[in-house]
Structure formats: structure tokens, C-alpha cells
Symmetry: D2
Subunit: 427 residues, 4 copies
């Protein structure tokens, strides 16, 4: 999936080995607050049980690294090849996605044993120190893959717990700073011109970020910060969910079909707006970025505000000029979505972290796109239709996983990802 | 639910207290082979998680006994009133049935603590020895209710495990005796006449078994034993599932809509028929009663065989003449559906145990039926439409729960209950 | 389908020929007020286009009479064998029921030509005067079959027009008499005893009315008249549709799932209740029998009123004692559902006409039931599950089609038939 | 919708009046071969009855021209404002789209009277000769709108007739020329560079074709002709519909979910491939462009062929260089989809007519897009999500309706439009 590993990232087999352990441990850390039942349930077809995530990420290393590169490797269990294959047709059959929550066995301890089994074999492989670059690339891909599933674990757990009338918490609440105000929205101007878009080849990137290519961008302006809960609440209270003129036709049909009246996880309780969070039900903080909105809601808000969503090229052009800093999932110190230090969420030009940012770009191949060869070619390319691109990363995205060229994507009606947005406008 | 408790059954508060403990312990025994995940999943809207069964049967005693009859009783958790209410509108709201499998918390240990909490309060109540008859009746009803859920636990666990590609077993297989043959089918003749049907008032009975009343029955003949796997296989191999002339219209539409080609849990593997059982996948035994067929399949087989299903009055008339003996769930020695001792399954006139027997009678109120008063009136009466009656009890039915007048009922397309059938014909 | 044709009914081939013409003409008369579009549309899977009814009843004579009994008969069009087969698997394939409204061609004139073609061949057959009794029986069955479809035409047209926001009328309104009051409800008592139920063999009857057999009936009382709109409105206004305690569980789920708040075709307009009728939207007349209620609604009303629905045996026992008189579809003078002459609708012991009466009996084979042989055995028997019996006939039922033993049947949630009910109670 | 009407198009009120008559007459001509039933049925929610198309296009002129610009205009029928509003929320309520086929009245003659009523008022308005430019623009938009519905009429009629087991024809077959071969596929090369995309303002254009803007296009090559039936058949016979590696994930799920094994309307009959056409079932002609394929099928074929679909910008860049010539719907000589004169379908660089060409571009706003003001802003903009762009026009598209910048769009799973494709590849 990568052509040239960067100095910092791979360096030596040693650093890959260390990174392997760190990433794998993080997954276990994320599961620690969870009971076997928490790890087994599937709240909707889009989500998967945590147990499945823990097994599937392991299956990835077993299938794409150990099978081909670790002579004598013995599979943990024959049936896992099908049971934990997500969508790789080239590998073979898959257990139906919507039925992942109907599998009570293997139990959680069995899955942990599976992880340990694969980790031992991976350690032996990585310790040998003679890994070929192609193999190292697949290991690196596996780690980024696992980081994606770490974010999915938090998304899926949040969704599952939100359906429980007891409103249970995944973690305890962190103390919220006194956010006394939101920085006023400023419009950052960018001139028209041809821009280079896509991976520069200086580190890991997915195949969908390549090839680097040129695009002509008219002049545009980008909002200096994300749209906040308070701003979105004004849209809600202005009857935003009742006015078809503000919505795409599919969007309004979705709103009415599903009975949406606010972002996912918002609820009015005792007369005040609250938000279900990983720490349970919490008062809605007006100065925080709005989160868990669909593309349709982001688009409708933008229309209401007399603006539009940025394209992914516009976001990348802006993001390439600033450091990758933001409120991310810190490995080794897991605090998904803590309260931000005062003011930081409003840092000028902050284009990373906190929430994924919907763009108005549909997810499509870059000019000259070539998917990876073999089964791994199914990783990204086959989803390039009917999805919208999100940029920037969220507070549940591992910090080392993000970059300015990163293309996340979801269907326009989905909301369980940590998705918000910023405004753009024509110059 | 009962007017006159029988000598043997109640006798004294002491015997009720002992019986309470026995029944409650049996539920826990049934759950012992299960992991927390096994207990948390819901395989379909008709089924419920084991954890839910354990909680709901407890809720029954809390709601209908302790709330009204145990002064000073403190609820274990306020939210359980809604969470574990199955369908009693008079008690209040209910958590949606199809979403019982989306509740990871309370965890299994919490439910066990809930059971212990209620059991302590029930023990204190029952030990006082001054229980009024009306209260004792509700306790007795609660025990029969829990016995119904014991059967549901085994039905639901079997269904859940059957969906697992690993084909896991709930219990180990018992040694199968050498069944060298099936007793030939004989036709037992019964003369026409007016029969008394329904509860005699000599022990516990549900309200739907009352009042005892007269019915005119034309002369009829009843098969001396249940239809066997071997016999049903002949129907399958004769193209039974492909011939619309053998089926009710709804039945054939169901067969085609669901793609049925054999009873539930049958599968051909390596060229031989197998059956998924509580002990995992086992070879299909020809001499065992066919099980897990819908009403439609029983009806079609009967038509194919030139016979018909009995009415519930015919079954009761015959069953009233023989002792309640058969292959039931033995409390204190839990072996659901063991292999039968050689020959016993073929005992003449055996009308109980092994499998529930579909009748051609729809579930309807007896003439003069009055549902119990209050919320408990919802127990049976409100289901009296679009269901067919089954009689006789199954190997997963607790032995002390069954009697000749017992009316079980299921919708005609259901198959996950342990349902088989015997033939009848006009004289 | 019949054993002994009665003197009056058949008499001679001549009378059969005359009756054939009358019945066939009536179908055309019913279609006269309709445009080609009215005749082509299908408003729901339960309903069929009028054009289909006109063709299918013709197909019946072609398939079951002419094919076997008219040597040299030439089919009108080969494809009609499949296209207009309703549900006779023994005849062969069928065009899918739900897609009857997707067939724009053959056009209405083609269907009329098809009818003329078959009518000519039938006339030739009937004129020969040497019809064997078996053949005459099938002709007679075909005529009753066509009469059933005449009622279906009016049901289906009413439903189709009701979906049209223009609220069009099938016929002009007839002058409504001044109904100054409803006769008070009296309870007619019937003693317990064994009753003979089913066809006496004195005229045409369907196979499902046979064999005549005995049933034991406890003493009961029957309401002297049907429940009226005014009475049902009191149930509505008492919150009847909001109180789960009044309903069967399936019934309440249906009410909530479909959003029912009153009988089908009722609507409040300008503050007053109206009813969509074959003459368009009309003010709701309080003294008319309530119509277009489901079994669930009839059952819930009865519970609310402290009574119950009669069984079909109770209805037949009572109906056998009175003449078959009521407000029926008069052939030769088509006025479906005219206003009743003052007072007649309240005639004591009137058990026929106006509306079909729901009974609490599910549709099941009589003891000793044998379906007709051959394809015609599919006429009735294969529907004997999950349906409830209605008795008495309606204002859209042809007068010569009804009798005390007649068993109509519909699924409990259906309402587009002209269905009402009367109350019963235990003595 | 337009800024500067071109000399040729509008010129004077006189030419607009003439064009109005021509376009309106063409709609009636298209309906002439159809019976009232043909015009009333709706074959699926995506399609509409022809009668509805005839009324809705009339409603467009009534609502957007006559209401505001013809003082004293009297509506034909009040209820039509809702009944024939397609999706303009700013105008008010709409009759539900999926229920357009449940409206038997107004009958076809009533709709024709409605058309005549509006045409008289329009004629009076246009004859006055003092039309303001803004009004003339809306009239022009209404004519293009009606031309779009002319194509929809043919699409929808074809779909409806295809569901009829009689396989009826809309028109008689035209003599098929002897197509002796397909011109070999050549690759036309285009250099990289900045291109101007979008409406030049020289004639009518929809708002979605504006504003004209620059885009950077890498070098690319375009196939000289459309993919043919014969070529697509090779894909089918190579197991194309069974190989998940060739498909987008959504595409393969659609193929399996719907059971697709070939393009819509293809069927094998007597061992040979046929195609249902407007002239009934015809042998499949290998040299004709493949038609009625979804985006998914076009995309899968391209992957199988080692190529890709063009972007809409690539198509426009190429199309802008050639005249708008092709096999279109000729007004005044209606022969939708006649057989092409030998060779013409293979004319080099032919980029118009015959079939719409799928592009790999999702339907999105051009940079700086502003929807038209008022209700007409709903015409295009609100559909800009989850749709793919098609270019070039089809044999059922009116000739005067098409141009190089025209953007058609459909959801990727749709096939009832006349859609084919050509290949592209990176240079």
C-alpha cells in the first residue's frame, strides 16, 4: 500500500515491532471497561460487536502477513477464516455482516487467546529483523487498519450504549473547563489556482490518497473553526428540520422517514438539551463542535447559513499548510473525547481532530488511481460510490493515524461516526 | 388463577416455599452451561436473551407478589419495571420486544443479584406461613410462569446456537440406545358423544383451561404414536415440499417464501441427514419423533398420509384416560431431550412428553371463558387469535408443569418450539 | 360441489341457461359506471382490478366447464390460462396476484370480447339440454363463484375510489329516509343443546358447509340487531382505540401499526363524521349498522360493551329459524347499499343482509370435511387457517347467493369487505 | 433559468408560440398508440403513468406561467394543484409519488381537456407578443421540462409493457438494416490542461450547467464508439455477473439482491438472446450499443475491459468539439429508437444520441452554482447527492433538447433509462 516508508515511521524492524505492540495494546485498552456482553452485541447492521473488531483486526495480520510470510504458522481456528473476514471476496466467503451479533461463541476470552496467538507469531516474525519491505508495508497497513477499528470500537460502543434505557457510561466524565465563549467565525481566504492534491510519498498513505495530481481550485474562503452546538441549536430552533427548502431531497426524505429533529444523541431532558456521550448523558455544551450529524444535516445547515460545505480539495489545500494538531485519541493515555483545554478547540486554522469534517465531495478515485494488487485492492476502491468524503480526524481517531491527505468516507445518511463540519464559501 | 389448590400441590406454606426454591434453582441450573454472551444475545424477535428470561421471571414475582403483598419491599432497580415487563399493559410501558438483545447492561451478575434480592424477599414472605390463598395462587402462577420460561430458555438457546457456524453444543451428547425399530402405527378408536373438556379444579390450571364444559365429538381414531423422523423423511423425499396440493395456501407461501425444504434444524452433511440438537449436530435418528415442524408442515404431512391432525378436544379426551408420563425435563436432573430408553418413546397411548403435538384447533376462548382479573388477565386471553393449539408437552417441558387439559399455542408458521404431531382420522 | 340439486334451482337445463345469463349480465351491469382506468387499477394486493374479475370469472367457465365438456371449444387466447388463473395450482401457473394491476393489455374491450366468446360457447352447451348432472353442478358453482366476484368488484371499486383525493362516486346517492331512531337492543335467548350444523342438501352449497354434523351449544343470547354507527362512535369517543385492555394483542399492534382511529372509510370533515360510500362522501348515519370494521375492532367493541361476538354455530342456529331476508344486492335492479326503508334495518331477528357479521370462530373444516375432487378442491379448503368466519351476507351480496349455512371468511385485520357485527353473551 | 436567449431559439414571441405548439403536440403524439389503461398504470415507484406526465407538464405551465402572468386565468380544477405537483415544496403539498397509479379519475379524456384548457390560455398569452423576457424564459424552461417528460413517457411505457406476459409492442418494428460489423474501437487522445466546462450562455441551459468554470484535466483517451451488445455479451459469458472482483461493493450487492444476470430487458428465448423493445421482443443485435445497464454494470464492464468510465468533464471536453448529431427522437416524425442506417451508429467521435452515457462523476454543484430563485430552484439543485451524471442523450431524447453541456443524472442502480456507456483510459 505504500511505496517509500519514511525514516521516522519504519526506520528499523525494531521500531515496527514496538509500534505493533503499542497499537495492539491500545485495542485491548479500549476494550477494558467493557463486559463480555458489551463486547458481543451488535446494535445495528452498520456497527459490529467489539469482540468482532478484536478478532477481525487479528485476522488481518493472520491472513495477509502470517499466511504468506511466516512459514509453519498454524491457524488458531479454521472457521475464523470465514467468521472474521469482513469483505475480502478474494480471501473467500464471509459471515454475513448483519449477523455478527448472533455469534455468542467464541467467547471474549477465546478472542483474547486468538490475539495472543497471532501476536506471538507476529513478534517472532518482526524480531527476526529481516522483513522484506513489501511485508513491512502490509504490517504497517495492518496497524493503520487496526487504528481504524479502534475508532469503530468507540463509535459502535457509543451507539450500543445509547440504546440502553439505563444510559450507561463507557468511561467516567472528565472535568469540563469553563468555556466562556467561542472565537468569532472568521473567513480564511485562498486564491484560485492549480493545487497538488494527494499523498506526497513521505510516509504511510492508503491507496485512495494516490496518485498525487493537480486540480484547479477557484478562489474560496474557509471558516476558521467548526460549527458549534450553539450554532446548530439555532438552526434547530429556527425550524430547520421542518423546512424542505433547506434540504437535499434525499435528506428531507431521510429526516421525515426517520423522524430526526436534532443531531444523533441529542435529547431534551428536564427542559434542557443533553447529549449522550461516552461518559453517559451530559449537558450540551454550546461551545463544542456539533457532532454526529449526517451529511444531509451539515448540508442543510450550510444552506441555512448562506454558505456551503468545502470540497475535499479545498480542505486539503488548507490542511496542508498547518500542522496535524488537534484533539485526538492519545495512545497510552486513552481519553476519547475529553473536554478540550480552554480555547484550544477554537485555535485558528485548526483543521484536525475533534470531529470529522463533511465535505461536499463524493468519494471517487483520483485521476490515475490504481487499487493495490491482490485481495488488499478491496480495501478502499470498491466503496467508491454513493459515499461522501470527510477530512481531518476526530477525538476518537488515533493521533498517529491522521494526515492532511487522509480521506475518510461515509454514506450521507450515517451519523454514528464523530462527524461535524465547517463552512466554506465562494470568494 | 386457581380456585382450589390440591392437597398434594400446596398443602402448606412450607411446600410452596420448597417448590419456589426448586423452580427458581432450576432456572439457574439451565443457565449454568452458558457464557455471559450466550445469555445476552437475541437470535430473532420471537426469542429472548436468557438473561432477559432470568430477569423477567423475577420481575413477575416482584410485580405481582412483592409489590402488593410484602410491605416495605424495596425495588432492586427502578428501571426494571419497564425493562423486564413483557407485555402487561396494565403494569405500564415495556421495552420493545425486538430490542431485548440490544441491552448489554445490566450484566449477567447484576441479573443474578436481582434474582437473589427477590428470592430473599420471597423467602421472607413464604416463611411467615400466613400467606392468603389469593397470594399463594399468584405465587403458584409465578412458578408455572417460570417453568414456561425454562422451556423458552432451551428453545431460544438452541435457536441461537444453531445460527453459529461453529455449531456449538449446549450440553454433551448422551449415549444413544440402539433403537431397533418403531412400533407399528395403530389406530385407537374413540366413540362419538358429549365429552367434558377443561380443568376439573383439582390442581393448578391456567385461566384458558376453564371453564370445564361439554363438547360433542364425532367418533374418531387417534394414532398410537407420534410421526417419526423416518416417516417425515419419506414425505420430504416424495417431494412433499414441492407439491402445493398438499398444503394450506398460507403454508405453501411460507415454504416458498422462506425456502423451507425440511424441518428446522435438519441439514444434510456429507450425504447423510443430521439434526442440530442441544448437544450439537447429531445424525438424524429415524425412530425419534419428528420435531421442529410448523403447523403447516404437520398439516401437509397429514394430508399426504391420508389422515388429519386431531382437534384439541380429541387429544384431551384421549389424554384424560392415561397417566401423565413421558420424556420431560426432570428437575434436579437436567437432561433436556436425552435419548429415550429403548422402546419407551413408543409406549402405547403415550400422549405426553417428547414433543408438543400440533392440533387442528385454533386457540380460542372456551364457552364462558373469563380471563383473570387485573393485569394477570393479560396472561393468556389477549393472544386468542391466529394461533394453533398444541398439546402434551415436550422433553424441554418441566414434568410438574404439564397436564391433560394444558393448552399451549403458537402461530402456524413457527418452528423453534419442540413441536411434532400425531395423526388422527374420522371413524 | 353439490350432491342433490334442488327442484327450484336447476329444474331443467332451461332454468340454468336463464340463470347463467342473468348472473353474467349482472357482472357487466356492475362494470357499466366504470371507465377503462377504473377497471384496470389495483389498489392493494388484496384487491383486484375489475377487468381481472370480469376475465377470471370467464376463465372459470372456460377452464372447468368448456375445456372438459364442450368438444371442439377453441380458447380465446392461450396466455389467459395463466393470466386469469387465480390460485388453482392444479390448473397450472398463475400470474402473481400483487401484479394484476400492472397489466394494461388486454384492454377492457378485449375482456368483453372474451366474455362474449365464452358466453356463446356456454349458451351452445346449455341449450343442448343434455347436460350431465356433474357438469350442471360445475356450472352452478361457476355462477356462485361469479356472484362472489360481483361482491368483490364492489368492494374493490370502493377501495380504489376511496384512495382518490377527488373522492369520486361509483353511483349517485339515493335519497336517505328519515331514520328517527334505532330499535332498542334486545337479547334473544337460545337454550343449550345439540344442534345440527351445516348444509341440509336442499340446494346449492359450497363444500365447506358440509358435512352436516352435530355440535353442542351451551345456552346463549344473541343481540336482536347489529351494532350501529352511533354505538360504535361512542366506543371511539370513549378512547376505545387507545385502550390496550380492550384489544387482542395482535389487534392493538395492528391499530398502532396502521394508525387506525376509526372504521375504514370514516373521516371527520368540517367537524362532522362522514363515511366514504359508493355514492361518494356522505354524512355518517348513526342508525345504520357499523361497517368496514376488522375482526379486531368488532372484538374490542364487544369487550368494551361487556359482551362477546357469537360463534358461527350460534349464528347458524339462530339464522336457521328465520327467512333469508335483508338488504341484498338485487339482480336486475342494482342498488348496492341503498338507504334502508325506514325501520327495516332494525327488524327483529334479522340475521341477513346489510353487512357481514364477524363471528368469533376461526375458519376450520367441519368434522368429516372432504374437499371437492380435482382442481376445484382448491376452492375453499386450502384457506382454512388464520381466517375468521363471517355470516349473514351484506348489501353487496347478491340475494340468491346467501343462506343460513353460508361461511364467508377473512383475515382478522381486513376491513375492505362490508363487515359489521352483532353482540352475543352467555346465558 | 437563462440569461440570454439565442437568436435562433427565441427570436420573437412568434417562434416561441410555434415551438410551444410543436412540443405540446409531440407529447400527444407519443400517447396516441396507448389505450386509457396504458396511460393509467404505474409500473414502479420510479415510473409514472403517462396520464400523469401529460397532466404534470400542463400543471407546470399553469403554475409557473399562467398563475403569475395571465391575469384572470381560471384553474381547470382546484385539486390539480396538489395532484400534479411532482416535488415542488414551495408550491405546496404533493400527491405521494408511489401512489400516482392509484388514481383512475380524472380519466384520460379529462386530462386531454385539461391540456386544451391550458394550451388555449398559453396561446392567448404568447400571441400577445409582449412577453417579458423572464416570462419567456419560464415558458422555454417549461418546454424543456416537457421534453424531459417525453423521454420519461417512453421509458415508463417500455417498462410497463415489459412486465406484461403478452409482451405487447408500443409501436411496430422498423426494418432492421444489415449491420455487417462494428467499427473497431479506437482511442481518441486528449491532452492535459485547463478546460472550460459548462454553459456558454448562447442558448437555453439548465441552472445545473452553470456557471461556466475551469477544470484541470489530466491527459486522457476516449473510446471512439459506445460499447456494443456483442461486447457486453462477452462480459456476461465470461461470468461477469458472478465475479465480485469486477464490481463496486454496492454494485455486487445489488446484482445479487436483485438477481441480475444481464442488462434489463435482455432475455434468452429459444436459446437465443432477445431484447424487449418498444416494438416488442426482438433478437438482440450485436452491433447496437448496449442499453439499459446500471452505473454498476457499466463500471464493472470497464474494469473487466481494463479501462474506466470517462468523467463528465472529459465527455464535455470531447463533445464540445463535435456537432450535436445522433439518433434522437425526431419531432414531427416520431420513431423512437429506429434501427440506425448502416454505419451511422459507428460514426467516429459520435458523442450524442442512441443512448445516454454513464460517466464516473457524481452529480454535484459546479463551483459557484446558484439554483434558480423561487420554486424553480427545486428543479435540479436538490437532487445533487447519490446520483451519477450521464451525458450525450438517447434515441428517446428530443433532438432540440440536447447539447454538449447537458447533465442528466440517475441513481447508480437504475436501468430503465436508455443508458449505455463508452470507455475511457488514462493517457
Amino acid at each position: 500500500m505504500r511505496s517509500q516508508p519514511s525514516r521516522e515511521e519504519v526506520g528499523s524492524a525494531r521500531s515496527l515491532e514496538r509500534r505493533y505492540r503499542e497499537v495492539r495494546d491500545t485495542s485491548l485498552d479500549l476494550a477494558k471497561p467493557l463486559s463480555p456482553e458489551d463486547c458481543a452485541l451488535q446494535s445495528m447492521p452498520d456497527a459490529s460487536p467489539v469482540k468482532w473488531h478484536l478478532a477481525h483486526t487479528t485476522w488481518f495480520f493472520e491472513t495477509f502477513v502470517l499466511e504468506g510470510h511466516a512459514p509453519g504458522y498454524r491457524h488458531f481456528h479454521d472457521s475464523f477464516r470465514v467468521l472474521y473476514n469482513s469483505y475480502y471476496n478474494a480471501v473467500g466467503d464471509q459471515h454475513p455482516r448483519a449477523e455478527r451479533g448472533l455469534i455468542s461463541r467464541p467467547a471474549l476470552p477465546d478472542i483474547l487467546a486468538y490475539r495472543a496467538h497471532v501476536d506471538r507469531a507476529m513478534a517472532a516474525l518482526l524480531e527476526r529483523g529481516d522483513l522484506r519491505e513489501a511485508t513491512a508495508s502490509v504490517v504497517e497497513l495492518g496497524l493503520h487498519h487496526e487504528q481504524q477499528h479502534q475508532e469503530l470500537i468507540l463509535m459502535d460502543v457509543k451507539h450500543l450504549l445509547s440504546l440502553n434505557p439505563l444510559r450507561p457510561a463507557y468511561r467516567s466524565a472528565t472535568k469540563q473547563p469553563d468555556l466562556t465563549g467561542t472565537q468569532p467565525l472568521r473567513w480564511q481566504a485562498y486564491e484560485e489556482g492549480i493545487r497538488w492534491i494527494g499523498d506526497r510519498g513521505e510516509g504511510f498513505a492508503f491507496d485512495n490518497e494516490r496518485p498525487r495530481h493537480r486540480a484547479f481550485l477557484p478562489a474560496f474562503e474557509l471558516g476558521s473553526r467548526l460549527v458549534t452546538n450553539q450554532e446548530f441549536l439555532a438552526f434547530v430552533e429556527d425550524g430547520g428540520y421542518e423546512r424542505p427548502d433547506l434540504w437535499l431531497a434525499d435528506g428531507f426524505a431521510t429526516v421525515k422517514g426517520k423522524g430526526w429533529t436534532s443531531p444523533l444523541y441529542w435529547e431534551k431532558s428536564d427542559g434542557a438539551w443533553h447529549e449522550f456521550t461516552l461518559a453517559g448523558l451530559e449537558p450540551l455544551l454550546g461551545n463544542r463542535p456539533v457532532c454526529h450529524v449526517s451529511y444531509y444535516e451539515a448540508d442543510a445547515y450550510a444552506r441555512w447559513a448562506g454558505a456551503r460545505l468545502p470540497t475535499e480539495a479545498e480542505h486539503e489545500a488548507a490542511a496542508s499548510e498547518v500542522p496535524v494538531e488537534g484533539n485526538f485519541l492519545e495512545e497510552g493515555a486513552l481519553h476519547p473525547c475529553p473536554a478540550p483545554p480552554d480555547g484550544r478547540a477554537q485555535a485558528p486554522a485548526q483543521l484536525f481532530g475533534d470531529v470529522w469534517e463533511w465535505t461536499q465531495s463524493s468519494y471517487a478515485p483520483y485521476p490515475g488511481f490504481r487499487p493495490a494488487t491482490g485481495a488488499l485492492g478491496e480495501y478502499n476502491g470498491k466503496f467508491m460510490v454513493s459515499q461522501m468524503v470527510l477530512r481531518g480526524g476526530a477525538c476518537v481517531t488515533p493521533r498517529s493515524h491522521i494526515r492532511a491527505t487522509y480521506r475518510n468516507f461515509f454514506a450521507p445518511a450515517t451519523r454514528w461516526q464523530f462527524s461535524g463540519f465547517r463552512l466554506a464559501r465562494d470568494a
